[in-house]
């Protein structure tokens, strides 16, 4: 536990993490109704990574993420109504229903999008960071990706370039130990993820147990160094765990690629509960009540919104 955690920060983090947890749970609940006609890759269990990291960023910092992007979108300040509407395929969605859960975006919040092809947003984030440096801005780009993305060549090419040019970017690897059903040890040779980044001279740090506060303070430090022009890229390996299946809601222990014990051990250190306990009951309850209202309203908004009209099919291919 970080000693510097003050209560305002705690409240902010709890608000963020509770909201995401409950949004994901609501999606799970609604999913069997088929109103969400889209694959959803839920962040249940992994919320703390996005929460800890994004709470340390400024509004005009930029985030890129993956198909498992609900948490990062919300943590960075993405509009909740438009996210749920997007899942429902509605015209009020953040991409007017054209993109679904796997491709969220909210430019106003600095959330620049996600991709369903593993590792593809990593170079884009590096390019965005390049543009920041080009324009001499003191903003930072953060890119979230899974442990599987590290196996793609694009990861290496991106890190090499970011390090060469000392770009303002923080690479955040959400290491949830699996790529779909494949454990990391079957996919990755050598000394681990941080060693990869270090071979490019990029400072790398592993944060255990999905520790929200540790992530927050690590990213705060890294971002401050970057903004001050004292460092180039940073790499963070955030240990975390997915509670439900790779895609879609519900348990997958019956597939036997992971164990009940492993899951239980991670649930025992659940960050939503931990932050609630640190914050104290009355404040936490107030935050929960607020969130519940907002979430209910968002699903209601989505339900009541119209579908896009047929003429939208061929719109937006090109910009004038």
């Amino acid at each position: 536990m970080t000693p510097h955690a003050n209560s305002a920060l705690l409240a902010k983090l709890y608000r963020s993490i509770y909201r995401i947890r409950r949004v994901e749970e609501e999606i799970e609940r609604i999913y069997p109704t088929d109103k969400i006609k889209s694959p959803v890759h839920l962040s249940l269990g992994q919320e703390s990574v996005a929460v800890g990291v994004c709470a340390a960023l400024h509004k005009d910092d930029i985030v890129f993420a993956t198909y498992r992007g609900h948490a990062a979108y919300l943590a960075k300040g993405g509009d909740l109504n438009r996210m749920i509407a997007e899942l429902y395929g509605k015209a009020t969605g953040c991409a007017r229903g054209k993109a679904g859960s796997m491709h969220l975006i909210d430019r106003a919040a600095g959330f620049m999008g996600t991709s369903a092809i593993v590792a593809t947003t990593i170079p884009q984030a590096v390019g965005y960071a390049f543009a920041m440096r080009y324009r001499k801005q003191d903003t930072v780009t953060v890119v979230f990706f899974g442990d599987g993305a590290v196996e793609e060549g694009a990861f290496h090419e991106s890190l090499n370039f970011a390090a060469l040019k000392q770009l303002p970017i923080i690479f955040v690897c959400e290491n949830n130990l699996y790529a779909i059903h494949a454990p990391l040890r079957d996919r990755l040779a050598g000394a681990g993820l941080c060693a990869r980044a270090q071979s490019y001279g990029i400072p790398a740090k592993r944060i255990e147990d999905g520790d929200t506060l540790a992530l927050h303070s690590e990213v705060s430090l890294a971002a401050a160094e970057i903004r001050a022009g004292r460092s180039g890229p940073h790499f963070i390996e955030a240990m975390t765990y997915r509670y439900v299946r790779h895609v879609g809601p519900g348990d997958d222990l019956f597939l036997k690629y992971r164990s009940q014990e492993e899951l239980d051990a991670w649930k025992a250190k659940d960050e939503v509960k931990r932050l609630a306990a640190m914050l104290g009951a009355p404040e936490a309850q107030r935050i929960r009540d607020e969130a519940e209202k907002e979430i209910a309203a968002a699903f209601d908004f989505a339900e009541k919104s119209p579908f896009p009209s047929p003429r939208e099919l061929e719109e937006n291919l090109f910009h004038a």
Partner: protein, 351 residues
């Protein structure tokens, strides 16, 4: 697996072909993301590692580019790799090895090497697959000399093409449409090859030749039923293999009908439908006036929301309407009714 009629599903047919070839030839192995996981690629590779050992059915890191090159290297050494991709879209990461190496090695080295490799790509559709999980892109592979491309539609052809692909001494891109996996059909239990370059006339008719690719064959058959109600006879052709492409069978049919509609499971621009139309008119010009048309994906990325996704794809009705127009010369109005595709609306995974 087989029911009383000797039928199995498309997915089971792929599994059966793979097992039989792995039993026959110790050099055949299957690899790719998820092939040895508890889902086993929709059952098509389920537990093959238990049957044949972990060397012959193994998961890989997320490294499509190198894993393609690794398959090519193993093939150069005389093994027969089958590389499986959950989506055709991921093949965009493999283009360098497929286009610059696999397609060229035999020619470049004057036949001294061969690359007997099968690249299985699954086409996603429905349930919000969206822009990056629904592409087919077979036009790319047809464009490049040195690759073979097949897109079997029936369980029978799935098995026979898979066996032929594994035995083929050249790189074969093997396209599977996820919406075909649960279709059942009679499949001989023994091993057999469906030869590449032989199209199938699935149904005869005198008024219009309807060539359909991959899952669009299912919709073409629906369209034929619609059109039968208004007395229009449609000959439905499934090319089965796209490279080599059996233009003779298509031309023979067009000779009879004078009309050719090609429906692709892909965009039309520089697509398989352009190729088939161009080749057909080159053959018939000066001999016979033929009417031709193409249908395919709407010329945009695939949207996720259902109302737009429905418009993005061709279906029995849109195909029937186009064919009606071609036969009636644009005169008259008609609204086909009856059953629409159910497998699309009902699909809910696995993904």
């Amino acid at each position: 697996m087989r029911n009383a009629a000797g039928e199995i599903t498309y997915a089971q047919a792929l599994y059966e072909a793979t097992v039989q070839e792995m039993e026959r030839d110790a050099g055949v192995f299957v690899y790719g993301l998820g092939v040895d996981d508890p889902i086993g690629m929709y059952g098509t590779t389920l537990d093959l590692h238990k049957k044949f050992g972990a060397d012959r059915n193994f998961d890989t890191p997320l490294s499509e580019d190198a894993m393609t090159g690794i398959g090519i290297g193993a093939a150069l050494a005389g093994l027969r790799p089958i590389h499986v991709h959950q989506r055709m879209d991921f093949l965009m990461l493999c283009m360098n090895q497929l286009v610059n190496i696999a397609a060229k090695a035999s020619y470049m080295y004057a036949g001294q090497v061969q690359v007997p490799m099968v690249v299985r790509g699954i086409i996603g559709r429905s349930w919000g697959q969206g822009a990056q999980h629904s592409q087919s892109l077979h036009a790319f592979f047809m464009h490049v000399p040195g690759l073979k491309v097949v897109a079997p539609v029936t369980p029978h052809d799935a098995k026979g093409c898979m066996i032929a692909a594994i035995r083929d001494n050249n790189p074969v891109v093997f396209m599977e449409h996820r919406m075909l996996y649960n279709n059942r059909g009679f499949v001989p239990p023994e091993a057999y090859e469906v030869p590449f370059g032989k199209a199938r006339v699935l149904a005869e008719g005198d008024d219009l030749t309807l060539v359909a690719i991959s899952h669009m064959v299912v919709e073409a058959i629906r369209a034929r039923a619609h059109l039968a109600e208004v007395g229009i006879g449609v000959e439905v052709i499934d090319p089965v293999s796209l490279a080599p492409l059996d233009m003779d069978t298509i031309a023979r049919s067009v000779e009879k009908t004078g009309r050719l509609l090609v429906v692709d499971n892909d965009w039309t621009n520089c697509g398989a439908s352009a190729e088939i139309i161009a080749e057909t008119v080159e053959r018939f010009q000066g001999k016979r006036a033929v009417r031709v048309a193409r249908l395919g994906y709407a010329p945009v990325p695939c949207p996720t929301t259902k109302p737009l996704e429905n418009l993005y794809y061709q279906n029995g009705r849109t195909i029937a309407l186009k064919a009606y127009d071609m036969v009636k010369g644009g005169v008259g109005h008609w609204e086909p009714h009856g059953e629409d595709a159910k497998e699309i609306a009902e699909f809910k995974g696995p993904f």
